[in-house]
């Protein structure tokens, strides 16, 4: 691990009009770390990871990603977005483009790669996520699990340094969850820096370096999976864990 964190957040606050969604988040993420964020609905998990690539704007505090401070400067925002891939709960694949076009669009038009190179990299990534044979299909003809794996390949095609996942498996049928989690586990083992919002506790235990428990816009507790599972310090954490581990 290097000295400088690749993501540095200090005292991040975010309001939606009068609603105080993030109330002073501090977090350092180092290169190669896998961070899992969990917590009850409405606790600000999505809002927080969306501030990291500026899909949401924070009003107070400091966020530095890969040495670039998030500010109103559009160039900074676009540079940070090139370095951070994001995977959404609802996949958000582009329905009018084929799988291959979904993956190559940004490398061609943002990274300015020649088409041949972009397609070669895209096919390698589709191979990596296990669906090279679907390259010419349209997203609408794929299962949810396949769509989410395409979404992962699409984000990876920009060769980001950081990957953000916002509940990537919660819109999936149970039998498809595993294929997506396996892909994410491979990615974690390859050394990718990841922030994952998820309630898949088996996955978290296996790959997370640290876990953060969010509630009401604050970090209530953080620690290694061992610390969180075996010895949670806060009552709220214990209660929440007992609720989700029952299922």
């Amino acid at each position: 691990m290097s000295e400088e964190p690749i993501i540095y957040c200090r005292n991040v606050h975010k309001w939606f009009d009068d609603f105080h969604a993030l109330r002073g988040i501090d977090m350092d993420v180092f290169e190669g770390e896998v961070i899992v964020i969990f917590g009850p609905s409405g606790s600000g998990k999505s809002t927080f990871i969306r501030t990291i690539n500026r899909l949401e704007e924070h009003q107070e505090g400091q966020i530095v990603v890969d040495g670039i401070e998030l500010s109103h400067d559009v160039r900074n925002i676009e540079r940070i977005r090139m370095e951070t891939g994001m995977v959404f709960q609802q996949f958000n694949l582009f329905p009018h483009l084929s799988v291959l076009q979904n993956v190559t669009l940004a490398p061609i038009w943002v990274r300015k790669w020649p088409k041949e190179k972009a397609e070669k990299v895209a096919m390698e990534l589709l191979e990596l996520v296990g669906i090279p044979e679907q390259a010419l299909k349209f997203p609408g003809n794929l299962s949810g699990g396949q769509q989410q794996r395409v979404a992962i390949a699409r984000a990876l095609a920009m060769q980001p340094k950081i990957m953000l996942f916002d509940e990537p498996t919660s819109a999936l049928d149970p039998e498809m969850i595993k294929e997506v989690l396996d892909t994410m586990t491979d990615l974690a083992e390859s050394g990718m820096t990841m922030i994952v919002v998820t309630h898949e506790m088996g996955f978290a235990r296996a790959v997370a370096d640290r876990m953060y428990f969010f509630d009401e816009g604050k970090i209530v507790e953080s620690g290694t999976p061992e610390e969180i599972y075996n010895n949670p310090q806060e009552e709220r954490t214990k209660l929440f864990l007992s609720q989700i581990l029952q299922h």
Partner: protein, 405 residues
């Protein structure tokens, strides 16, 4: 072996129902349906029979058949008519090229157009306007379509080149038709002499090609964060949509002329085109805006998360999805525009319908034949409107590949 054969037998899809079964299931499925069938079939046959027998035996088509050139080009000087021929030939060439490249409906249109040309060229009738030269020209158009077809089959000819070619045709056509002042080869022909289908098509094609980008721009303008831009777009759209096309035509043809100095007078036909364009743009803008609203926010976020700028997100993600969503509405809008061009008659432009009316009024004998003339005109409008509607449906299915889950 036997087992697999039986399995094969079982997997086969059920046979389509025979004709008798079809009739039973579709025409006599219930008592009400049977009554409707029994009552309506004779009426339909009777109407069809009377129309056909009238058209073939009682109708007098002289007011139509005597003036084919008048209907197609109006008063365009007959010694300059080769210019229209050149344009027509290039359209046929590109039709053939598109057939070779894309097939589908374009194939049917090409074949139909080729057939019409050949049949007309070989018609066994004496007609002063169907002389040797004209027959040769018509026949050569069939050849043009075939040449185009083989060009279109060549892989090296890029699709974008074909599209650009199509877009250039109307521009080249206008330049060629108008001609150049003091030129020997193509002397200037004032637009007052243009008429017939030529004018109808020019107004419709020009209106569509110009109003569409303007409409898209207005739709974005109305959604803009800049209050001046969104205010202007909103007022423009709402004012135009609140006024009949006739009024807009009058405004452009009379009021515009009053305000502009005489030497900068804009041509009458251009003014009509401006009016049609502005009118259609306001409606297109509202259609496109509906499409823009239908694109989910998640699509825009996904594009942004990949580092795409606002412009790239709009061009590659938002606009294609928006246009696909409103394609039927836009196609309908363009069909209305095609038919609405008939209103230019009231500002003294002799479009296709206008020519028909002036033929009727030119001779007391023809006044008796106005039914035939109007039926002919309606038929031509219907053919082209129907083609546009067919094309839009084919385009819809072609673009819908990706969303059949």
């Amino acid at each position: 072996m036997i087992n697999t054969e039986i399995e094969q037998e079982m997997i086969k899809p059920p046979l389509p129902p025979g004709p008798l079964k079809w009739v039973k299931e579709n025409l006599f499925s219930s008592i009400f349906n049977s009554v409707m069938t029994v009552a309506l079939i004779p009426i339909v046959f009777y109407l069809l029979f009377s129309v056909v027998s009238w058209a073939l035996f009682s109708a007098d088509w002289r007011a139509v058949t005597q003036f084919p050139l008048l209907y197609t080009v109006g008063q365009y000087p007959r010694d300059q008519i080769w210019r229209v021929g050149v344009i027509l030939s290039s359209i046929f060439l590109f039709l053939g090229i598109s057939w070779g490249r894309w097939g589908g409906l374009l194939r049917s249109i090409s074949l139909a157009a080729g057939l019409v040309c050949v049949v007309t060229a070989l018609l066994p009738v004496q007609h002063p306007q169907l002389d040797q030269g004209m027959r040769l020209f018509l026949g050569s158009n069939t050849v043009m379509i075939l040449i185009g077809y083989f060009i279109g089959r060549i892989k090296a000819v890029k699709a974008s080149v074909i599209v650009v070619g199509w877009l250039l045709i109307p521009i080249c056509a206008v330049v060629l038709l108008a001609g150049i002042e003091n030129s020997e080869l193509i002397p200037n022909v004032p637009t007052t002499l243009w008429g017939g289908l030529l004018v109808t098509f020019l107004l419709a094609a020009g209106g569509i090609l110009l109003s569409f980008p303007l409409g898209v721009a207005l739709a974005f303008g109305r959604r803009s964060d800049l209050p001046v831009l969104s205010g202007f777009s909103t007022i423009f759209i709402e004012v135009i949509r609140g006024v009949p096309l006739v009024t807009i035509l009058f405004m452009f043809s009379i009021i515009l002329a009053l305000f502009l100095p005489v030497e900068s007078r804009i041509d009458r036909l251009v003014r009509a085109l401006m009016a049609v364009t502005v009118f259609s743009a306001a409606y297109s803008a509202e259609n496109v805006r509906g499409g823009l609203q239908s694109v989910p926010l998640g699509q825009i976020e996904a594009a942004k998360a990949l580092g795409m700028s606002n412009l790239k997100t709009t061009v590659f993600i938002v606009l294609p999805q928006a246009l696909r969503a409103v394609l039927p509405a836009i196609a309908g809008q363009f069909i209305s525009l095609f038919k609405d061009t008939t209103l230019v008659v009231i500002i003294g432009i002799n479009d296709f319908l206008g020519i028909g009316r002036s033929i009727i009024n030119s001779d007391p004998e023809f006044v008796q034949l106005r039914t035939e003339v109007y039926i002919f005109i309606a038929l031509i409008y219907w053919i082209f409107s129907y083609l546009m509607s067919l094309a839009s449906r084919r385009l819809e299915t072609a673009m819908g590949i990706s969303d059949n889950l």
